[in-house]
């Protein structure tokens, strides 16, 4: 299992290859990549800054991965989340899950993202033509996380 909070970019292909390297029990690798969009809530986004809670962030991501392992047959997982200043088109987050079969890999990947969005201590501040603004939490993210029964 790998959890990383970093300012540097990541290589999706390299991370997907690394998770399966040297083993033959993995039948499925599912991944999700989140990118910075150039608009949000009707405003153009020139750049954004991601703040986090060092220490708690890593613990929280590791806990979410552990929960996924308890629900599905997860053989390995990678979560990378970037912090600091990002621009439209930049990658923000990567989740990679390896399982024997696709169902477990796809569901665990979606679960990790849904829980990350509502539980991991990151905050986005967007720079718009009208100035900086902190992004409001979305109800739709709570709904998405709520669909996974405890």
């Amino acid at each position: 299992m790998k959890v990383s909070v970093q300012s540097e970019d990541f290589d999706v292909g390299a991370e997907c290859a690394a998770i399966a390297r040297g083993r033959t029990d993995i039948g499925a690798v599912a991944s999700f990549v989140g990118l910075v969009r150039d608009s949000n809530d009707g405003a153009g986004i020139a750049r954004m800054t991601l703040e986090h809670y060092p220490g708690m962030t890593e613990k929280s991501l590791a806990e979410i991965v552990e929960q996924a392992r308890g629900r599905w047959d997860v053989l390995d997982a990678t979560v990378i989340h970037r912090v600091g200043e990002l621009r439209p088109g930049d990658a923000i987050v990567l989740v990679v899950v390896a399982s024997a079969h696709r169902g477990d890999a796809l569901k665990a990947c979606e679960f990790i993202m849904d829980y990350l969005k509502t539980r991991a201590p990151f905050w986005k501040k967007e720079e718009t033509p009208e100035g900086g603004r902190w992004v409001d939490a979305r109800e739709s993210d709570d709904v998405a996380a709520g669909k996974w029964k405890p």
Partner: protein, 84 residues
């Protein structure tokens, strides 16, 4: 040992600082009592009371207003998270 208190994101900006150490005041035994103590400073500290859906953590675990506090604890206050 004093309490370590952290503020993040919009709350950090409103208060104008990211952290402080505070000897646990008399009568402060849980997060809710600490929250009330800090908000009662008035001025910028009222942001603690006006932030919508304020979240809190004790020793880097999500907490509630009822979570008990011990000397030396690290308490964080922040708005709902928006990562991913």
């Amino acid at each position: 040992m004093a309490l370590k208190i952290l503020y993040f994101a919009g709350l950090r900006e409103a208060i104008g600082q990211s952290s402080e150490y505070l000897a646990r005041p008399d009568g402060v035994g849980n997060v809710g009592e600490l929250h009330a103590h800090l908000a009662a400073r008035g001025g910028a500290w009222q942001a603690l009371a006006t932030t919508k859906n304020l979240r809190m953590a004790v020793n880097q675990e999500m907490a509630t207003l009822q979570t008990r506090l011990e000397d030396g604890d690290e308490i964080a206050f922040f708005p709902p998270v928006t990562g991913g």
